[in-house]
């Protein structure tokens, strides 16, 4: 009976040690993941700002002007009005 009790106690202690190891290792793994996600979020945030800047640059008037000069679109033509035909015929 005594031996049985000692064995059970031993098994429980070993089980608890294994469980403890598992919890500690899981904690470390999850902590690493949290760290990774934090870094990735940070990276994404920075990349987002960089992309936002690039998009804004491409839709800026300055960029449009550079492109217009590049393709020689420098003279604006006057509109033709068709709702009052006397102007359209001019």
């Amino acid at each position: 009976m005594k031996n049985f009790f000692l064995r059970i106690t031993g098994v429980v202690i070993v089980g608890l040690i294994v469980l403890n190891l598992f919890v500690v290792i899981s904690g470390i793994v999850i902590s690493d993941e949290i760290n990774n996600f934090e870094q990735k979020t940070d990276k994404l945030h920075k990349a987002n700002l960089t992309l936002e800047k690039e998009v804004a640059n491409l839709s800026s008037l300055q960029f449009a002007q550079i492109q217009a000069q590049k393709y020689d679109f420098t003279n604006s033509s006057l509109p033709q009005y068709i709702d009052q035909l006397k102007y359209a015929y001019r």
Binding site: I30, I34, T50, E52, K53, S59, L61, Q84
Partner: protein, 551 residues
């Protein structure tokens, strides 16, 4: 015996642990806490600013603060030399900041990713970087005076100055959050420890009434105008006269938003909202509208313009000292007759003049949502002399800001409503969009008076003494102004403020544009400087707004 010994050893061991924990957690608690409990401030992202078509005017970009930990620096001279070369900053100014007795010194703010990478590659000991964001302006300084800039307060915290950055600083700034976590020796979070996170609330985005294309047209034309007419400075304001939503607001000279600190404070001043000046003849339609509203005059009523008019000891004359005899009220505006305006002023009466000046909102802030507005000063009626009532009818002897002037003018052409001018039409936060609607302050004149004055102003443009290169087929209303500048109480005839205020199309105005040129040298007259500049802008706006000819 052996078992007892091991048992006592265990007990002793546990007691030692408990005592140690007691010391760590209770007695030395604050000191030990900082070793594993890390609290970081979470900075909110400052709100962005967009124009009426959701085109970005102000964004945020990545940036870094360079710091040095002097105690870890091995070779100070080498460090200074390399930092100076990489950052293109004078070695002496870095040296002045680098106090070797301190543990941490900030050296430079606003470094780009490229600059940071370059410094990282040098493998210098004792330097580090803190992440920050800084403002980015895709359209450079197109709207410098509207936007304002982001500077630092005395605690080195970001704070908006002037324009929208100043006025909406609280909305744009957002609320900081914090994260408190227990970390192990490698900096990883301890899952069973304290994990507290209060998210930062990002700043609100602003959607403006400004159209960056109109802003670009105005700025380009104003720049050309300043050179052509050799004016000292100038402003162009365009608004929707029905709502007083500001579509563009440009004053030159302005400043570089990215390098605002290189400019003198005078460049920061937004003349359109803070500069008081005597408006001159652009003021006349306001008095005419008041007289029409009070039924003191009719548009076709005549006045006998025979010569100079004496008011007390002063003689008032027309700008060219020429007189046409019997002229209508409309003709008074067309030829911008000062003596005719004195007649209208007399018919309107001093009490009514004072009443309407108040009603038009002179001497008060318009309440425009830009920081830095000046309301001006309207002296009490008890201090007015007869000559003051006479000169105010043609816009002398009263100080107004350009924004007050355009607002008052809008009220006489939009059906009579004095509107509150505004620049922001939407404030967008994470969960809510707040729309800012046009606000009627009060009604000044009736629809009928407004219709009459619009027709009179079209006639003023078409029959003015100066002939302009106007867009053909369009009814445009407007009025010129040439105000002399008082210097130490005396008007200097050579220095004037030339202006033109006009709108199109006249029957249902889509835009109202006010052009002011300070001290033009090519000609002192508004009709020869500000007016042609207005028509240059109007030609482009008519095409931009797709307004078809109506006559």
């Amino acid at each position: 015996m052996k078992i007892k010994f091991i048992f006592l050893l265990f007990i002793g061991f546990y007691i030692a642990i408990i005592v140690r924990l007691f010391f760590l957690q209770v007695i030395y608690s604050p000191a030990s806490k900082s070793l594993y409990l890390k609290t970081n401030k979470l900075y909110p992202v400052r709100g962005r600013i967009y124009d009426q078509k959701n085109q970005s005017l102000v964004l945020n970009q990545n940036s870094y603060q360079l710091y040095v930990e002097p105690k870890k620096v091995e070779d100070k001279d080498k460090l200074l030399n390399l930092l100076s070369k990489s950052l293109e900053i004078d070695e002496a100014s870095i040296s002045a900041k680098l106090d070797m007795t301190k543990y941490w010194v900030a050296i430079a703010n606003g470094l780009t990713q490229e600059q940071k990478d370059k410094l990282d590659n040098l493998n210098l000991k004792g330097i580090g970087f803190d992440y920050q964001t800084k403002r980015f302006y895709p359209e450079a300084s197109l709207s410098a005076h509207i936007l304002g800039f982001l500077g630092k307060d005395n605690q080195n915290e970001d704070i908006g100055y002037l324009g929208l950055e100043g006025f909406y600083d609280r909305d744009l700034r957002g609320l900081p959050g914090f994260v408190e976590t227990e970390r192990d020796i490698l900096g990883r979070p301890i899952l069973i420890g304290v994990q507290q996170r209060v998210e930062a609330e990002d700043g609100r985005d602003l959607i403006l009434t400004i159209d960056k294309n109109v802003q670009e047209i105005s700025k380009k034309k104003l720049l050309e105008g300043l050179e052509k007419y050799q004016a000292k400075k100038g402003c162009v304001i365009t608004a929707d006269p029905k709502t007083m939503a500001i579509i563009s607001l440009v004053c030159l000279p302005d400043y570089d938003l990215e390098k605002y600190y290189l400019f003198n404070e005078n460049f920061y001043k937004n003349l359109a909202i803070s500069d008081l000046y005597e408006p001159g003849s652009v003021f006349k339609p306001l008095i005419v509208a008041a007289a029409l509203e009070e039924k003191k005059i009719k548009p076709d009523e005549t006045y006998n313009e025979t010569g100079q008019v004496a008011v007390g000891e002063y003689n008032i004359k027309t700008w060219n000292d020429k007189y046409e005899g019997k002229i209508s009220m409309t003709r008074i505006l067309e030829k911008s007759s000062n003596v005719g305006m004195v007649y209208i002023g007399e018919k309107l009466g001093n009490k009514n003049i004072s009443k309407y000046l108040q009603k038009y909102g002179f001497g008060q802030n318009t309440g425009i949502d830009l920081e830095g507005e000046a309301g001006g000063y309207l002296k009490p009626t008890a201090e007015w002399y007869p000559i003051d009532y006479a000169t105010v009818t043609f816009g002398q002897g009263i100080a107004v800001t350009p924004i007050q002037m355009i607002r008052a003018f809008a009220s006489i052409i939009n059906g009579g409503y004095l509107m509150k001018p505004y620049v922001v039409q939407k404030i967008i936060s994470k969960n809510k969009t707040t729309e800012i609607k046009p606000k009627i302050e009060r009604r000044i004149v009736s629809q009928l008076t407004s219709d009459i004055i619009r027709k009179m102003l079209v006639s003023t443009v078409e029959n003015a003494e100066a002939k302009w290169d106007r867009p053909k087929g369009f009814a445009i209303g407007g009025k010129t102004g040439t105000a002399q500048v008082p210097i130490k109480g005396i008007y200097d005839a050579s220095k004037t403020i030339a202006s033109f205020i006009g709108f199109a199309p006249a029957n249902d105005p889509k835009f109202l544009t006010f052009v002011v040129l300070y001290e033009p040298k090519s000609s002192q007259w508004g009709s020869e400087t500000a007016a042609p500049l207005f028509f240059e802008i109007a030609k482009q706006l008519i095409v931009y707004y797709n307004i078809s000819p109506n006559r």
